[in-house]
Amino acid sequence: MEVAVIKYNAGNVQSVLYAMERLGANATLTDDWETIQKADKVIFPGQGEASTAMKYLKERKLDKLIKSLEQPFFGICLGLQLLCEFSEEYDTQCLGIFPIQVKKFPPLDKVPHIGWNNLQNLHSPLLAGLDESAYVYYVHSYYAAVDPEFTIATSHYITDFSALLQRDNYYAMQAHPEKSSLTGEKILTNFLNL
C-alpha cells in the first residue's frame, strides 16, 4: 500500500512518517500531483498557523488537488481545520470540504487545550474497536464546531467540539493519532484498512 503524506509548510510531519513506518505502511512525503493522485491513501498532517498554510497550498495549487482526490484522505490537527470552511485564525478562507467554522476557544479555561482527552459519540468505521474510554492527545487553540451531519466523534473542553469529521472519502481528526499511543495506532490502522 502506498501512502502519500502531503508536503507543505507544516510542522512535525516527521512523526506521522515514523508512525506509518511503525505500522508497516510505505509512506512518502510529497507535494507531487501525480504521486498524490496515484497513492492508495493520502494523509494531510499539520501543525502551525492556518493563513500561512492556506497561502502556501494555494501558491502550489495543492488546494485544487486536495479537493479533487477520491481515495481515502485523512486530515490531522491543522489538516482538519484547513478542510473546514473558514477559520477565525487570521480570518482564513479554508478548503471547504466540511461546511464548518473553526473558532478560537474562549478564555474560560487554559488555552491551548493540551493533553489527553477522551472521544465521545463515536460513530464511524474509522473508529471501529474504540469506545468513550479512548483517549487521544490534543494540542490546539482553535476547534471545529460540532455538525450533526459530519461529526463522527466529539470531545469536550470548554465546549463540545468535533474530534473527528467525515464526508465521503474525507476523514479528519483534531488530535494527533501519531502521538496517541495505542488508540492513535488503532485509528491509523483503521484508516489504512478503509
Binding site: 510542522g11 512535525n12 516527521q14 512523526s15 515514523y18 508512525a19 513506518e21 511503525r22 501543525q47 502551525g48 498557523e49 478564555p107 487554559k110 488555552v111 491551548p112 487545550h113 493540551i114 493533553g115 489527553w116 482527552n117 477522551n118 474510554s133 483517549y135 492527545y137 490534543y138 494540542v139 490546539h140 487553540s141 469536550h156 473542553y157 494527533h176 501519531e178 502521538k179 496517541s180 499511543s181 495505542l182 492513535g184 495506532e185
Partner: protein, 251 residues
C-alpha cells in the same frame, strides 16, 4: 474530559540517562530510547528529555537521540537543556521532537520566546523556570539552579506567557531531589496567574504528592525522574491510585 498528565523526565548526558539528587550527584539509569518506550507502554502521558551534555558534539548527538526517540515512541515528548538558538530548535523539531523547552536562554534573551512562538507556534514552546525561595520571595535561578537572577518568578512566568510560551515547566529548587512533595504553594499561584498549562516538577516521593500537586497545587501535569527510574513508584500503580482518588487520569 481533559486528564492530568504524568511525565517522566530523563536526564541525558552523552546519550545516556542520568539523574542527580539536587542536580549534583549523577547516577546512570539506562538507555534513554528503551526507557522512553517502557514509560510510554506503561502509560506515561508525555516524556521530557533534558540534555546536560556540555560538549561541542551536543547538537549532533541530541538530534540523533531525538530521531531515535521519534521513531520508537508513540507519545509526545519535549527536549530541553542548553538549547539557545532558533536553528537548534528547528533541527530538533524537524527530527521529530514535539516541544522544545528553554530555560537559561530565555532569561539571557527573552526575545527568543517571541521569536520561537512566531516561527514554530506557541504549542511547541515550553519555558522551564527553576525557582528558589529567598527570604520569602521567589526568584528565578539558571544553570541547573545554581545561579540566582534578579527575576521574580511570578513576574517572569507572566512575561514569558505574554511573549508566547505554550506551557511552563516549574521546578522548585527547594523541593527538587528531597522527595518531600511538590511546591504546591507556588505552583498553584503560578497556575492561577497564567492562562497556559503548568507542569510541576521537583519533590515527588510518594503517590499522594501527585494528588496534592493536582489538587492544592492546581498543576496540569506533574514531572518526576528518579522515583520512576528506580521503580519506587510504578506509573500504572500511580495512575490507578490517582483515579481512585478522583483525579481525572488516562488509564
Amino acid at each position: 474530559m481533559l486528564t492530568k498528565r504524568i511525565i517522566p523526565c530523563l536526564d541525558i548526558k552523552e546519550g545516556r540517562t542520568v539523574k542527580g539528587v539536587n542536580f549534583v550527584e549523577l547516577r546512570d539509569a539506562g538507555d534513554p530510547v528503551e526507557l522512553g518506550k517502557v514509560y510510554a507502554d506503561e502509560g506515561a502521558d508525555e516524556l521530557v528529555f533534558l540534555d546536560i551534555t556540555a560538549t561541542v558534539e551536543k547538537r549532533k548527538t541530541l538530534v540523533e537521540l531525538v530521531t531515535k526517540v521519534a521513531k520508537t515512541v508513540n507519545i509526545p515528548f519535549t527536549v530541553g537543556g542548553g538549547i539557545s538558538t532558533v536553528e537548534d530548535i528547528k533541527a530538533l523539531l524537524n527530527a521529530g521532537a514535539d516541544k522544545i523547552s528553554i530555560n537559561s536562554a530565555a532569561v539571557k534573551n527573552p526575545g527568543i520566546v517571541d521569536e520561537m512562538a512566531r516561527e514554530f507556534g506557541s504549542q511547541c514552546i515550553v519555558v522551564a523556570i527553576d525557582t528558589k525561595n529567598m527570604d520569602g520571595v521567589d526568584f528565578v535561578h539558571t544553570h541547573g539552579g545554581r545561579r540566582p537572577t534578579l527575576l521574580q518568578t511570578q513576574k517572569w512566568a507572566k512575561e514569558v506567557t505574554e511573549r508566547g510560551a505554550g506551557e511552563i515547566l516549574l521546578t522548585s529548587m527547594d523541593h527538587d531531589g528531597v522527595k518531600n512533595g511538590f511546591a504546591n504553594e507556588i505552583t498553584s499561584e503560578i497556575s492561577a496567574l497564567l492562562g497556559i498549562p503548568v507542569i510541576a516538577s521537583g519533590g515527588a516521593g510518594k503517590m499522594h504528592h501527585f494528588k496534592d500537586v493536582f489538587t492544592s497545587g492546581k498543576a496540569d501535569a506533574a514531572l518526576a525522574a528518579s522515583i520512576f527510574h528506580f521503580k519506587e513508584i510504578p506509573i500504572p500503580e500511580l495512575k490507578k491510585y490517582l483515579q481512585a482518588e478522583g483525579i481525572s487520569i488516562r488509564l
